[in-house]
């Protein structure tokens, strides 16, 4: 038990977990029944389930973002890609005679994912082949992508009625929201692919020192293509869930600022924007912190207008706690405590 605690204290996940716990405790104090989960029609309902379900899109985007950031990159285009995938799916459903048919929905989803694949390859091409800085390379798609999404929807907000598609966003399967399953699958795929094989280590190597990893025989170009494509597909999946939630494709506002939330989740999870080591578990915690934050704002009754100020405060606190300066100060404080305790023991004996 103490070993586990010691490992936790040394872990980069300590502060995000503390933050998550603090937020949840605040919630419980504000609303004593916060943790209660009720079963209605065989489906689970409750604030915790809401956090998981509403946090799923951010988490999915953040998983893709983690791998991109691990290569010392960044993907600003995820919001635009999500908007495009939603627009594509909705326009296909609208164009078909039978939008409620599962086969039509499957076609819409597959086409949306294939298009995101192309967009991801495009980002990968700019970064890996042309050697453009990732922030600028993906800024191009971020700016142009919303325009493309508006081109697809012709400037309208497309609304569709299709029960199978709706299930993606608000459906349940064995009592648990479908979106949670999707997020779990994406997480499992990313974790298995990168942590059960050498892939993750190679991604980290590229992030730490591209030149050295090239000389060690790692083909950085292919890896970069892979991570940007994976990120775009993740974004598209998130976009589909968000679109299915509202059953409307809004090219301008769908998944707005999701890139910032995703990057924030990654950073709160302890992955450095400078590339190199990454932690998918950290990203999971980070995404949960962000979603819990939003829920807390509503639960505690902070006026919604102050949400962003509250968010800024939490982000600042987490970043300052994780900062090397703070950690050094804490470490020296702990050492001085230990020294004093040691002296106490010595004098007692």
């Amino acid at each position: 038990m103490t070993a586990l605690l010691a490992r936790l204290a040394a872990s980069r996940l300590l502060w995000p977990l503390v933050m998550l716990a603090v937020l949840l405790i605040i919630d419980v104090i504000a609303v004593p029944g916060f943790f209660s989960i009720t079963v209605r029609d065989g489906n689970l309902y409750g604030s915790l389930i809401d956090i998981l379900r509403n946090g799923a899109p951010t988490l999915i985007v953040a998983i893709g973002m983690t791998l991109v950031i691990a290569t010392r990159g960044i993907d600003l285009s995820v919001g635009a890609v999500a908007a495009i995938s939603g627009a594509v799916a909705c326009s296909i459903l609208l164009g078909s005679p039978d939008p409620g048919n599962p086969a039509t929905v499957a076609v819409a989803i597959v086409v949306a994912l294939l298009i995101s694949l192309v967009l991801g390859v495009w980002n990968g091409f700019l970064v890996a082949v042309l050697g453009i800085q990732p922030i600028i390379a993906t800024l191009i798609l971020m700016t142009a992508g919303r325009g493309v999404a508006m081109l697809i929807t012709e400037g309208q907000i497309l609304t569709v009625t299709s029960p199978p598609f709706k299930a993606l966003g608000s459906g349940f399967w064995f009592g648990i929201p479908v979106a949670v399953y999707i997020a779990a699958i994406v997480f499992a795929v990313a974790a298995t692919l990168t942590r059960r094989t050498a892939l993750g280590m190679m991604i980290e190597a590229v992030g730490i020192n591209p030149e050295a990893s090239r000389q060690a025989g790692i083909r950085a170009r292919g890896l970069l293509f892979a991570v940007y494509t994976f990120s775009a597909v993740c974004a598209a999946v998130a976009g589909l869930i968000l679109t299915a939630n509202t059953m409307a494709a809004d090219a301008n506002n769908a998944a707005l600022f999701i890139e910032l939330d995703a990057i924030l989740a990654v950073v709160i999870g302890g992955t450095s924007l400078a590339g190199g080591r990454y932690s998918l578990a950290g990203t999971l915690v980070g995404a949960l912190v962000i979603q819990t934050l939003v829920t807390t704002v509503y639960t505690v009754g902070i006026p919604p207008i102050a949400t962003m100020v509250f968010k800024a405060a939490v982000v600042t606190v987490v970043c300052l706690l994780q900062s090397p300066t703070t950690n050094q100060a804490l470490a020296s404080f702990r050492r001085s405590l230990a020294v004093r305790a040691g002296k106490g023991v010595a004098s007692a004996s």
């Binding site: 922030i135 700016t143 508006m150 100020v309 600042t316």
Partner: protein, 352 residues
């Protein structure tokens, strides 16, 4: 490292690259021009300048009345706030940082201006107050970045949330400005002979640009900014005031954002919490199109001004075209960004 002239800091002169550029090989004009265009320092700016002129001439051929002085001046009138914003962003990017908060700070300034003017305070009090507030915000961000080693992307993201959130706290709806002195300053035009005229915003923007150029090229502070971008560690070892400078560039950016917000208020004569969303990306795009390297160390304020003008001329062309839908603007700017960056890559890559 091209920013140090040998007489000022002899010890710092890099061993391998003394005075790059045309001076090394006295050759014909053609070779000199090619050298200038492919140098990492001047090349991107020159490419942008040439493309700007090309777009302007192309517009003149396609649309009657395009090739006039007032169209050119209107680029400044409409984008004065963006020029000031891009100047501040240039300082930050030259050190290798980034400031995502500028758009939200512009919105915050419009809100402070509108609400304080509504409360009856005179502009002579309100404007300095805004500049002070945004500079302090910049200072806090700078301290967080330097002393707590928070990545600039994240620290300024937090500042963006804070500024945007404060906008909503001040008011959730638009506040109109009715202060006569403020309106007079905003709408009065300065005739430049003929039918041409500019606004006071343009004058302020030009003054900011001149001061920024002077600061970057004629002061210790400016040289340190370039040195940090070239290599923070080296700058530190050379005994340059790295800490102070790194914090100060965010103060400069905060100040510029505040001033830009004031100019934006001149333009809209109201405060609105949702205004200027995404403006930080316009500013970053302008700086990059203007040839400043995001990694820091290379770039010019005048390049960023040119970048703003390029973004402005695209908007102008789209409004002259008239039939293009608004979403084409976004696609256009994206494509243009790509063209510029690809060109810069190709030209500077050939040199290596």
């Amino acid at each position: 490292m091209t920013t140090f002239t040998s007489d000022q800091t002899p010890a710092s002169a890099p061993p391998t690259l003394p005075a790059p550029g045309p001076a090394r090989k006295p050759a014909g004009i053609g070779a000199r021009v090619r050298d200038a265009f492919t140098s990492p320092k001047y090349g991107p700016v020159l490419v942008t300048a040439v493309l700007f002129v090309a777009v302007f001439v192309a517009g003149g051929i396609r649309y009657p009345g395009f090739l006039s002085g007032q169209v050119l001046l209107n680029l400044f009138v409409d984008n004065a706030y963006l020029i000031v914003l891009a100047v501040g962003m240039t300082f930050v990017i030259l050190t290798g940082g980034i400031d995502l908060s500028v758009g939200a700070v512009v919105a915050l300034s419009t809100m402070i201006a509108a609400s304080l003017l509504q409360a009856g305070l005179p502009p002579a009090v309100v404007i300095p107050l805004i500049l002070l507030a945004t500079s302090v915000l910049g200072l806090l961000v700078g301290l967080m970045i330097h002393y707590f080693k928070v990545q600039p992307f994240i620290a300024t993201l937090a500042a963006m949330f804070l500024a945007r959130g404060l906008c909503y706290v001040i008011s959730q709806s638009s506040i109109a400005i009715s202060d006569p002195a403020f309106i007079a300053l905003a709408v009065s035009r300065i005739p430049l002979g003929g039918t041409m005229s500019i606004t006071w915003s343009v004058v302020i923007a030009v003054i900011v640009v001149v001061i920024a150029v002077w600061m970057l090229h004629r002061t210790r502070f400016g040289r340190t900014v370039y040195a940090i971008g070239g290599g923070e560690q080296s700058g530190m070892l050379m005994g340059l005031p790295v800490a102070r400078t790194k914090v100060l560039v965010y103060v400069v950016s905060g100040f510029c954002s505040g001033l830009s917000g004031v100019l934006f208020t001149f333009y809209t004569l109201s405060g609105y919490p949702l205004t200027a969303i995404g403006t930080e990306l316009d500013a970053i795009a302008a700086v990059v199109i203007g040839g400043t390297l995001l990694a820091g160390g290379y770039g010019f304020v005048l390049g960023s001004v040119l970048g703003v003008l390029v973004l402005g001329i695209i908007q102008t062309i789209i409004s002259f075209e008239g039939t293009l839908s608004s979403w084409w603007t976004k696609i256009f700017i994206g494509v243009l960004l790509l063209v510029f960056i690809a060109l810069q890559r190709v030209l500077t890559a050939r040199r290596r």
